[in-house]
Every structure is written in structure tokens, then in C-alpha cells.
Symmetry: C2
Subunit: 545 residues, 2 copies
């Protein structure tokens, strides 16, 4: 059972140091503090445990340290920044674990870029030594990369030449799509085990600068000071110069039994033998604060922050700890009006740093499970919670004129919560009938079942006679299908329309890596991953497919 | 050894009938005329042999029948349109063959859409019976779909529920990206083995109309007449009404030995033990026609048409018949000026139907091999042939002031030959330095090695002392790497920037399908594909990844 909650005082592998507008996040991986048996985390290589701490640090920067304008990511080990994902860990892990591990590390890299994009905080990778594989992939998720010029340190992606797998934590995509490196150079770099150093790395666009050892710290500090000053000047010009105080993210309280997992606002009932889970999100109370000041005082008890942190933790748990649960039935409980009131507050204060952070972590992640949203009397699928229904693969809404079943849209459905392809969930849903987006947003009041069906917001609306049976059959059918086919199908159907670097990473690069992670050339007895570090050499079947 | 050349008089599975502006392409698969042993092509199911004929028919429509304005794709079997790819064929094929088969069928579907897009010819799927799986994927590649309403016939994608694999011939992508079907409905449809009929299929956007058996032919004919009239009216309005006469596509002459394959303009030398091939394209002569009339008279002997048809056939052969050859060293021979002269003729007559067709088939396909372009004295990498170098993963250009080594750009590099992501190869190459595109296009005369290097057009430019060694080492290194890792790496690096439906199909859907085609849940002893049609049932490992 892997726990995704941590905090700086519990970190084993990272040090987070805040100095006014500058944060330094330093990697110092403890070899023996592994998440599983059978490998040592040498040379700042990482396993999921290391990355859980990194993900936590980034989230804490956002909420606890809004004063930070530059984040320096570096290492406390001499001559090595980071050697990437631990190969022995990968070599001994199941296919499913490898896939889940890569997904989580990908989300962490995307979280860095999301913070940079939304908060304007600049991430600077200070490579005091070699950054190879996932180490360079971490650097390339930052805004700027500086490499020490000590005649030895390099950046490299040795996955293809040494391991027969891909730099799958966004590496390949970010080379050509983020840093826009010429693809012939990206090809050379990605097949060069030893990587590139100094001048050539800079000329090819792999790093932004390289400094001799004696001047490295000084030059990085100078660049950091420049970034901080620039940012302050921009804020002055925009009239948004700030000296904010953060809020504390306290541990989520959770009670578990074998069948259930209960947070304050999120609860789960597992039906393991039937391979599905019932997940319910409880809506907010009616008396929530309406000003940023009051919200700041309430801190992480504020419903949208607490509920979505809980939901995120819940989904991570389901992904990693409950692989056989393939379907999540999503429900909400509460008063539509209370959710809409929260949305009004958030929408009215979108420019406030804390509200912006709260909204940006309401984004739903990508989980390789099927989702059915189930709308019944007492549901609260309004505004931000309506996004849950829109992100589900299907929606079932009870049709019963006697019962009070309704959903409602809010201003937050109009653009504040984009999918990773840049569209809203309504735009994505109505790609073929774009006029319907405005209709839904302009609709007065809530939608009863008939209106929701007319508006195109639900998949099925059985009446009360059929309701139980139809749900039962749908759940049975879904959970009987090939889990692999469902993962591939959902990944293909969920993101129509435009593509972004994120959808390319999760949709394309991940799919290729998953394929390769199954191939005998990587994981068979003679595969490259299996034989890494052994006296034996990989033997390939050279048939190209 | 699979042969990709055929012609209507050799077809076993299709009938191509031309009636003025209307072509009817009817599927009538002969059960026993299979490409391999061990299965029968029942119910108009198909194997690669069936699809090779379809691909040929589409190409012939373009060149031999420019008068055709509507193509009706239908079946000569009662009550069945097409049951899709033959499952027993898939179940008994190697992973590599399945992947190659899907790639070819995908290209055929894309060729239909490419013809519709470039020539304005309208493809109408007349489903006189059930279209399931690849059968519906063929229909959805057409512009319009009509289904007989006989109380029984349906459209369906039963791959996920029945076979545990994806509708990977573009099906999933076209549902949400082409027909823009709501994704919850796409989800339901893609998990419903029996599919949907008549009214619901129409309401959900899966078909464009449904007619009772007694009126089916009449209604389809009426729609075809309407399409033809509309197209003629559009042509009258645009001043482009035409009564063109096509040209004949004669068989390509090819001579093979164990080590070589020689066409008129394309020659191949296989180095099988070293897992690479040398492929040379010979440039045109100096006295080629310069007017569309002369080109039409010359017909398929015209260099650009012949050379690129040969190149396409060569690459198909390499893909399917030479799986162990992982690297192609691309060379050209001839006079730069002669290639540029051809490009001037093509560019000046781009609006002529035949020139348009010639240009549109100069597009390079997507081949899962590495490509190194090698530029030496006597090379002819100019204009359209420069695209070959730009599409290669790397380019090596000899640096020798004594020798005459040069490349040149032409007007055709400015947009006539787009990649499947919609960008030109120059735009794609210089995504990070867009100004360089205009610089290259504005450059006077040819580029010598130094100028080409400065302009960013080559990867490496070794001098004559290092040339042989550097090439040898690069070839040895490339062919030593994991072929799977290279396929995934190249698929990720080749298409930076925007995405299209085609890149989604080849980049994303294909990758997921490849993954699933490896999974025990599909192809293991208890997998769904293995157990299809047997008394035994598939047993899944339900872990979701």
C-alpha cells in the first residue's frame, strides 16, 4: 500500500529551502530509503518514493510559499545531478507498476510546467553534474537549464542506446515540442549514450548555458537574481507586486477499512470482487467565505481545496493500490446551490493568487479507469462538480418526475477548468455541435433530467423502473471487458480535437513506451532492461515493427 | 514475398465499374483467395491481399478516371457489407505482421480521404448489409454513409467487447475527430458488440441516412446523382468544369536478385547481415515535358510519377518483406538542375488535375525504419528530392572543397508537399527558428556543404578524411540499437508541432493498438483474439494499466 501523502519534515530525498523570493529544491537521494526491496538508489536515481516527495514540494510551493518567484532545482551530490529512474527498480517491476510509475513522474513534470505557466514562478535547473535519462527529463521540465562545465558533466538521454526503452517521462516530446530542437539533432542526442556537454549542448538548444565549476554557483545565483528582479518589475508594471503569505497544507485525514476509504468530503466503497468502486464527493456547506481574505484564513479547510486534494489522493490510491478495480461510479451529494455559491466566489476572485491556485488544482487527472457519473436525487453535479460528470466516460441520470434530480452549469464551466488539450469539457463534448456550449452556459437555472438530456449533457436517462437494472447491467458489462482494450479505447476517445504537449506525452509517448515495456527486446530474459548492469549483454530480435 | 502491384483485371475481391462520373467499387471477397494459409475470408472479411486491391483501385481512380466525381463503395454479398479484418488471420499472425497489416489498411483509408480532399471526389459508403469492425472503419473513411434498414443490418465496432483489441484502423479517432460524435456516445457504441441500426445510428451521427431494403438502391442512386450534379455546378461556378481523360498506370518493371531490387529510377542494395539497405533515387533527364498536355501524353513514364510510384512500392516491400532491415541509407543521383526544372513545371501547373495528382502522390509515407540521407558528389537532392533528405532522421553531407556537392530548394519545398501534420518539412525542421524557412526558400542558387550546414539543412558534414569511417560507425551504431525503441523514438520525434487526424491515427491509436496486440489479454493462450470463435472463452487478467 503506497502512501502519497508526505511533507517537508518527512522528506528523505529532497531538501526544500526557502530564502525570500527564491526556493532551492535539492535532490539528495538516500540509497537505502527505497519503496521496495532489491535495488539501491545510487547516483541520485529515483523510485516512486522520491517522486512523491518532489510532487509534494511543488504543491507546497504553490500554496505555502506564494512569495517564491524562482525555484532552483539542483543536487547535493558532487558531480551528479540525477541519474534518472532507477534501472534495477524498473527491471524488477511489473508492467503495470512501470506504467503507473511513469504516469506519476509525468504528472510531476507537468505540475512544474503548470506552476510556471499559471503562477509565473520560474524553475531553474542548476545541473551541478551529469543529468542523464529522467534526470535530464526533470531538467527539461524546468524553464531554464544551466550545466556545470567541468570537462565531464553532460546531459543525456541514454534510454534508447543503453536500455532499449524510451525517455518516456516527456523527454522525447519536450525535445522537439518544448525546446523545439531540430529533429535530426534530437535523433542524434537520443541515441548518444554519453550525451552532450558544454558548448555543443548549448548550440543544439539542450541547455541554456554552461559555466566552469569555479563560477557555477555564482553564475546561477546571478541568473536567479535577474529572474527575481525581472519578475518583480513585471509585477510592478502589471500593478500586481505582492508580498503574500501562504497557507499551510495539513495532512488529509483518512479512515480506511478493507472495503472503504473515507476522507472528509470524499468517500469510496470498493466492490473488489465485482471490480468497481463507488466514489462519492460531498458538496460544500452553505456558509462558506466569499472573500479571498476569509478564504486565506480558513486555509486548507476551504471546501474546494480540501475536496479536490482528497479526490486527487483518492484517485492516486485507486490507480496504484487497486489495479483490479477498472470502473469508478462517480456520485456527488449536497445542494446544487452551495456548489454554485462556491463557484461564484471563485469566479469573482480568479485573479487572487490563492483562488488561482485553488482553481488550478481542481483539474482532473488522467486515470486509466472507466468512469460512469451517476446522477440521482440529492446529487450536486453543479459547476465545478459538473466537470466530474463531463469528464466521465458516460453519464446516467435518473428520469423520475416525482424526484428532485437536477444538474447545473456555472461560470467555471466556461473556461477556468480546461482539459489538457486546452478545450473546456463542454467544448470537447460538443465538438460536432459547438452552438450547444453557449446554450448550456446561457441556460437559466438548473436542468432537470429531460432538459439535461435535450441539452446533450447525459448519455442515458432511464426511468425509475429500469434504473437499478440498467446500472447493474452497465457495470457488469463494463467490468467484463478487456482492461487493456478499455485503456486504449478511453485514451483515444477522451481527447478529440486539438493536441498539446501534455496530450502528446500522455497519449502518444506513453503508448509507445507501454508497447516497448512489453517487448522481449526490453523486458524478455535477453532484453536490454533485464540485462542492464549484468555481465550478460542484451540480445535483440531485430525485426522492425 | 508479398507483391503490392495489381490491376483491376487481376482483382479477386473487388469489382471496379466506371459509369461516366460515377464509379462503383464493390467488395466481393473470395473466401479461399487468401494471402496465407489457415483461414477463410468469410462474410467479406479481409486480409492484406484484399486491401492491396482496394489501395490500387483508389490510385487508379485518381489517375485513370479523373472524370469520376462520386465513388460508391458497396458489397455484392447479400445482407453483409463487410465484416472487417479477418479475425483468424489476425489470431494466427505474428505481432510484426499484425502491425504492418494495420499500417497498410490505415494508409488505404487515409488515401480515400486524401483523394476526397484533393480531388473533390465524393466517396459514398452504400451499406447494403452489416458493416462491422474494419467494415465500418472503411465506411467512416468515406464522406457519406447510408445503411439499409432491413431490421437486421447494423454498423458496429465490436473489437473491444468481442476481441479485446481496438478498432485500430482509425475507427476510434474518426468517431470523435472526423464525425465528432459525442464521446460518451462513442464510448457506448465502441463497447456494443451488436452495434446500432437505423434511427439511433443516424441520431448519434454514425451514418448519414438509412433506407428500407425496397428503396435502398434507388435512394443511394438519387444521392449519387445529387452529388454529381452539385459537383458539376460547383465546377461550372469555379470555371473548372472538366471532361478529362485519364492516363494509364502500367505495371512497374522491377528486377530482383537476392541482394538487389532495381526499378527504372529507384534501386536498392540490401545488406541483410548488417541490417541496412542502400536506396538510390535517380533524378530525371533534362528534356522532360513542360506543359500538362505533353505530360499527359507521356503518361506514367513521366519521371515524378514513375519515380515516386517506384519509391512507394520499394518502401512497402522493405516494410513487409524485409523486417530485419532497420536502416535505409537514402541517396540520389543526377543533376540538381533537372530536378529543379521538373519542379518548375509542376509548380507552374499545380491547378491541372494530373499535375495535382502527381504532386499529391509524391507525399512520403510513414515507414518504421531509420533513414539517413547521404549527400555526396553527383547527388540530386533538389526541390522534391530535397524533401527526402528533410524527411530523413539524419543527413550526412560530404565536406570537400574539391568536390562538387550541393543541394537546392525549389518552390515545391514551400507548401506543395505537406507532412501529415500540415506543416512543410522545412517548417517542421525549423519549429524553433521559423525565420530559417524563408531564408532557405529565398537562397539564390544551390547550397554547398558549408552553406547547407549554416542554413541548418544537414546534421553532420564530415570531411573526406572522416567520411567513410563516420558513415560506417553511424550505420553500425544505428543498426545495433533496439528496433522497438527506435520505432517509438522516431514516431515521437518526427512529428513535432500541430497534430492532425492522420498523425493521431498513426501516432496514438496505432501505438495503443501495438501495445494491446502484445498483451496476454489479447494474444495470450487465454486471450480474446486467440479464443475468438472457439468453444473456450477468453480469461482476462483484470489489472488495469
Amino acid at each position: 500500500m503506497i502512501n502519497f501523502q508526505t511533507s517537508p519534515d518527512q522528506y528523505k530525498h529532497w531538501k526544500l529551502k526557502i530564502d525570500g523570493p527564491v526556493a532551492q529544491l535539492s535532490m539528495d537521494v538516500q540509497e537505502d530509503e527505497t519503496l521496495a526491496e532489491g535495488y539501491k538508489l545510487k547516483l541520485n536515481s529515483y523510485d516512486l518514493g522520491v517522486d512523491i516527495e518532489l510532487a509534494d514540494a511543488i504543491q507546497r510551493l504553490r500554496f505555502e510559499h506564494p512569495e517564491v518567484r524562482a525555484v532552483v532545482i539542483t543536487s547535493l551530490k558532487p558531480r551528479i545531478f540525477c541519474a534518472g529512474a532507477n534501472i534495477y527498480m524498473l527491471g524488477t517491476s511489473s508492467h503495470a507498476f512501470k506504467v503507473n510509475f511513469c504516469k506519476f513522474t509525468n504528472e510531476t513534470r507537468c505540475a512544474i510546467e503548470d506552476d510556471s505557466h499559471h503562477s509565473g514562478r520560474r524553475y531553474i535547473a542548476a545541473l551541478n553534474g551529469t543529468a542523464s535519462g529522467g534526470g535530464y527529463e526533470l531538467a527539461i521540465a524546468c524553464d531554464e537549464i544551466y550545466l556545470v562545465d567541468d570537462g565531464n558533466s553532460a546531459v543525456s538521454l541514454p534510454e534508447v542506446p543503453l536500455l532499449g526503452v524510451l525517455p518516456g517521462t516527456g523527454g522525447l516530446t519536450r525535445l522537439v515540442d518544448k525546446r523545439k530542437i531540430r529533429r535530426d539533432r534530437a535523433d542524434v542526442f537520443s541515441t548518444l549514450a554519453e550525451g552532450l556537454k558544454g558548448k555543443r549542448a548549448k548550440d543544439w538548444g539542450l541547455i541554456d548555458g554552461s559555466f566552469p565549476t569555479s563560477k557555477f554557483q555564482e553564475e546561477v545565483d546571478a541568473r536567479v537574481a535577474q529572474v527575481v528582479n525581472l519578475r518583480s518589475r513585471e509585477e510592478v508594471q502589471a500593478g500586481s507586486l505582492h508580498h503574500h503569505t501562504g497557507i499551510k497544507l495539513n495532512p488529509l485525514e483518512v479512515e480506511s477499512t478493507d472495503d472503504t476509504r473515507e476522507y472528509r468530503y470524499v468517500s469510496l466503497k470498493r466492490n473488489r470482487e465485482k471490480r468497481y468502486a463507488d466514489l462519492t464527493v460531498h458538496g460544500p456547506a452553505s456558509d462558506l467565505p466569499t472573500t479571498p481574505d476569509e478564504i486565506r484564513k480558513l486555509g486548507d479547510d476551504y471546501w474546494p481545496l480540501r475536496a479536490y486534494r482528497e479526490l486527487d489522493d483518492m484517485l492516486l490510491n485507486l490507480r496504484v493500490n487497486e489495479p483490479e478495480i477498472g470502473l469508478v461510479c462517480l456520485r456527488t451529494e449536497g445542494a446544487l446551490e452551495n456548489v454554485l455559491a462556491v463557484d461564484r466566489t471563485l469566479a469573482a476572485n480568479r485573479d487572487h493568487w490563492l483562488v488561482r491556485e485553488i482553481i488550478s488544482q481542481m483539474a482532473l487527472d488522467l486515470t486509466a479507469k472507466s468512469f460512469f457519473a451517476i446522477i440521482e436525487p440529492g446529487s450536486a453535479f453543479a459547476g465545478n462538480l459538473l466537470e466530474l460528470a463531463l469528464s466521465a466516460d458516460r453519464t446516467y441520470m435518473l428520469s423520475d418526475p416525482e424526484a428532485d434530480v437536477a444538474i447545473a452549469a456555472s461560470e467555471l464551466n466556461a473556461g477556468a477548468l480546461p482539459m489538457s488539450n486546452g478545450l473546456t469539457r463542454l467544448q470537447s463534448r460538443f465538438l460536432g455541435e459547438p452552438g450547444k456550449v453557449a446554450e448550456v452556459l446561457a441556460h437559466e437555472g438548473s436542468f432537470d433530467t429531460e432538459a439535461a438530456d435535450q441539452a446533450g449533457l447525459v448519455t442515458f436517462s432511464p426511468d425509475d423502473l429500469d434504473w437499478e437494472d440498467e446500472l447493474r447491467v452497465a457495470i457488469e458489462e463494463r467490468t467484463s471487458l478487456s482492461p487493456d482494450a478499455l485503456t486504449g479505447m478511453e485514451a483515444s476517445l477522451r481527447f478529440a480535437g486539438p493536441e498539446s504537449m501534455d496530450t502528446k506525452i500522455f497519449g502518444r509517448l506513453t503508448a509507445w513506451q507501454n508497447w516497448i515495456f512489453q517487448r522481449p527486446n526490453a523486458v524478455g530474459p535477453q532484453g536490454a532492461l533485464t540485462n542492464y548492469g549484468k555481465p550478460t549483454q542484451a540480445q535483440f530480435d531485430y525485426k522492425r515493427t
